[in-house]
């Protein structure tokens, strides 16, 4: 494409002018395969696998596209706010008339690099189980000793002490002075946790005030994470601001959003405990008194029963009853004997009426042979001795003759 001469006015199509600009950009070596640093913003994925974002600094912004082919080898997913260096070329996207950087490589810088390290260690330790809820130790309810690993300077340690003092006056606080930033800080932190464990502290606070990601970095070190994990005493982390999360926070048995809150979590309110104890004491006394009261009443009740109160009255009553019953029994027996006697008499009369002797009274007689009453003529023979019994005696005779069949 050649530019028009001043003698002849040429009219371009949109595409012609756009293509011209595109060519200009692509020919400029300063715009091809260059390194650009900035902060990622407006990051977005697409279904096609390409990623898009803006790269910005304090005053400018440039759109970036990283195609799937290039971003496949990325070892992290960029996020808004991270600082990067990228290698790419400026290109013009004709359908939108938009220039953009086509990104070939993408590297984290400064905090960005640390952030990647943080993510890698976090996922490694998580896989290893260092963050497991089941491994987390319970905090003592009423600790007698608290160890604090922190900087002896600054507000943090004083904030903690102030809160503890306000709530609970019977505790020993020991500070293990430690560096809390810089390369050597991690060794102090690890040593502090070990020393306080050896001294059998009941709970350990790991604390630091707010700072940049780089400044709080020691709390993202692996050896610190492992020292927390291996601590016998429960560890409470209170690092940076509420929004800062470090590896130490994930491993700690309890994370406190701020150092003051750490103190509140660890130390109970003494007034509350005393109230609880007094309440228990009251309940115990009241309950025991009540039991005595009930038992006493049971005894009183028993005591008021007549057998205890006036035993003789009761005994006399029984005696009297016994007498009465004896009398009744005696009377009943007499009546019974009389009745029996009467009945016997009656029976005698009736027996008499049936007796053969009663017949003799009326002038009849009974004839017997030996001891047997003769009732059949066949029973006797001529010459037998027979006896006749009459009312007043007995006659012996000899049978001279007999008649009848």
């Amino acid at each position: 494409m050649t530019m028009a001469s001043h003698t002849e006015t040429k009219v371009y199509s949109v595409d012609e002018i756009t293509t011209h600009i595109k060519n200009l950009l692509e020919k400029d070596v300063n715009l091809q395969n260059v390194f650009v640093k900035g902060e990622v913003s407006n990051f977005r994925n697409s279904d096609s696998g390409h990623i898009y974002f803006s790269l910005k600094d304090e005053t400018s912004i440039i759109e970036c596209a990283m195609f799937r082919r290039a971003n496949r080898s990325l070892e992290f997913i960029p996020e808004n706010g991270i600082k990067i260096i990228l290698k790419g070329s400026v290109d013009l996207y004709k359908p939108r008339g938009k220039y953009q950087l086509i990104v070939e490589e993408l590297h984290l810088t400064g905090d960005g690099e640390l952030y990647l390290k943080f993510l890698k260690l976090k996922s490694k330790l998580e896989k290893e189980g260092l963050f497991k809820e089941s491994h987390k130790k319970l905090l003592p309810k009423y600790p007698k000793s608290i160890g604090i690993v922190t900087s002896p300077q600054g507000a943090v340690v004083h904030d903690i002490i102030k809160v503890v003092k306000r709530r609970y006056s019977h505790v020993r606080i020991v500070i293990y002075p430690s560096l809390v930033q810089g390369d050597k800080a991690k060794y102090d932190l690890v040593r502090g946790i070990e020393v306080l464990n050896n001294l059998n502290f009941e709970v350990i606070i790991l604390a630091r005030g707010g700072g940049s990601f780089e400044e709080i970095w020691p709390f993202n070190e692996e050896i610190v994470a492992r020292a927390i994990y291996n601590s016998k005493a429960p560890v409470v982390s209170a690092i940076g601001h509420e929004t800062d999360f470090t590896i130490a926070d994930f491993v700690a048995d309890k994370r406190a959003p701020t150092p003051s809150v750490a103190a509140e979590i660890i130390v109970p309110d003494e007034k509350e405990i005393l109230k609880e104890i007094i309440h228990l004491e009251k309940r115990l006394y009241k309950q025991t008194q009540q039991i005595f009261e009930i038992k006493k009443q049971t005894i009183w009740h028993l005591m008021s029963r007549p057998i205890i109160k006036k035993p003789w009255t009761v005994i006399n009553t029984y005696k009297q009853k016994l007498d009465e019953e004896t009398n009744q029994l005696r009377q009943a027996t007499t009546v019974w004997i009389k009745a029996i006697t009467e009945e016997l008499k009656g029976m005698n009369g009736r027996l008499n009426a049936l007796s053969p002797y009663a017949v003799l009274d009326r002038g009849y007689s009974i004839t017997m042979k030996k001891e047997k009453i003769i009732s059949d003529i066949k029973d006797i023979n001529i010459g037998d001795d027979i006896y006749t019994i009459i009312k007043s005696g007995k006659i012996k005779s000899e049978v001279q003759s007999k008649n009848g069949e």
Binding site: P140, S145, P152, R172, I173, I175, I294
Partner: protein
């Protein structure tokens, strides 16, 4: 109860009170429980007040641990 702790003692006192509240215990046993709880209460009180507030810092030098008053 060996090696008793404040928490353990408190829990035991609560148990005892609940037993007493149920009211099924023989008198002798009630009295024994009451005595036990009263002892534990004394223990809790002592335990609470046993430690005096102190604030120190560790000096960890040449492998030796020393304590110093803090501030």
């Amino acid at each position: 109860m060996e090696n008793k702790s404040f928490e353990g003692a408190q829990k035991r006192i609560e148990e005892i009170i609940e037993d007493l509240e149920e009211g099924n215990l023989p008198l002798r046993e009630s009295i024994d429980r009451f005595k036990e709880a009263a002892e534990l209460l004394k223990f809790c009180d002592k335990e609470l007040k046993e430690v005096e507030m102190s604030i120190q810092k560790i000096v960890d030098k040449d492998g030796k641990i020393k304590f110093e008053e803090f501030e």
